[in-house]
Point group: C2
Chain length 202, copies 2
DNA sequence: CGAGTTGTTGACCGACGGGTCAACAACGCT
DNA sequence: AGCGTTGTTGACCCGTCGGTCAACAACTCG
């Protein structure tokens, strides 16, 4: 029954919701416009009417994924400061990141799918690179405090460099967890990390 | 001209060589049996004759990639010992791993393609998980020396845990480099890592 | 009520992919 | 020489996918 209007922009939401469902089930390479349309109980033509192309649909989906992964950081870690040393806060941050992996597994997988896709796809790459940069920036203040707390030890090392190390560790461990869940115990790995990165000697 | 025989098993090599070329150019998702056949100057039917399915061809290609990435470790690092402390040797190992990324970029990209593919594909997953395990095992002796050198500091931490941390960092940084080459200076990041992981206090 | 606008549909198109297969060619063996 | 084995070819089958489009339906505005 053609013509059944929808309250305007809600259609885009409806379609993106369907895209999330389909991608959660079949991953990025299993996502087709037809499946998304079917999941949204619409015709393929309608999806093209609202998005114009599959690429635009994917970029819309990517935004959704990024909101879930990098956006919506728990508010307390910008502060993150409080009582602990910056080193403890940053390690706590890493712990928190790794511990939420199992819960958000679906979005994490999609995040990594887009990561690899961005390797070939310029538009996706740009969005991903920005997102990764924003991700590191979210704990840059902690890294700055670390550098400040032990100026001699971190001579010639910038806070950004430290965020790269932490992000590298978190993402690498995330990738590992995605292909081999239950392969390594998160708690054991984190304790190893804490032993490798000692607290300030002061 | 059908019937032009080839010296037996050399055809498989020829086809896999072509697969490497095609995958290097178009990545995993751009690889089709037809393109591989064309690159090898054979007909598609011939590829199916020798491999049976695209999946088998991909598994063959995966072996090639793994030989390049995890196999063929420089001989000196098993020793790796020599004069330096284990901590220095392990950090040197990480440095060596990151520095070869640009040179082997093609294979590294394919390695990560297979990594993500393994997330959905059981056969690929199994091979990848084994390869990652072998990768960590290649510097396990260094991790064991680290634990031994400072028993108190690493109480309750196994050498395997340490390899997970190092592998996580290396892979995460590798993924980052693949999507954003030239995003972070490898040398800077490594100096940050070295500052974060201090030498034994002895 | 009538005309224009905005959606909506599903058939359709062209391309392409994995896989099959009948025909055929080179070689080894007896 | 004759024959079976092993390759090799390329046309072909069939499904799917992104995208288009003519037809049509609801809603709006005059």
């Amino acid at each position: 029954m053609p013509g059944a209007r929808a309250p305007e922009e809600q259609r885009r939401r409806q379609i993106l919701d369907a895209a999330v469902v389909v991608a959660g089930r079949e991953r990025l390479d299993g996502l087709t416009v037809r499946k998304v349309a079917g999941e949204a109980r619409l015709s393929p033509g309608s999806v093209f009417f609202h998005f114009g192309s599959k690429e635009a649909l994917l970029l819309g989906l990517l935004d959704r994924v990024l909101v879930e992964i990098v956006g919506r950081r728990p508010p307390e870690d910008a502060a993150g400061a409080g009582t602990a040393t910056a080193r403890d806060a940053l390690l706590g941050y890493a712990r928190q990141e790794l511990e939420r992996l199992p819960d958000e597994r679906e979005f994490v997988e999609l995040f990594f799918d887009f990561w690899v896709m961005g390797t070939r796809h310029p538009a996706v790459r740009e969005v991903m690179v920005d997102a990764l940069s924003a991700y590191r920036a979210s704990f840059l203040p902690l890294a700055e405090r670390i550098v400040a707390e032990e100026a001699e030890r971190f001579r010639g090392v910038s806070a950004e460099d430290i965020t790269h190390v932490v992000a590298g560790f978190v993402h690498g461990t995330g990738f590992q967890a995605v292909i081999d869940p239950g392969g390594a115990d998160v708690d054991d790995v984190l304790r190893a990390l804490e032993a490798l990165v000692p607290p300030p000697s002061t």
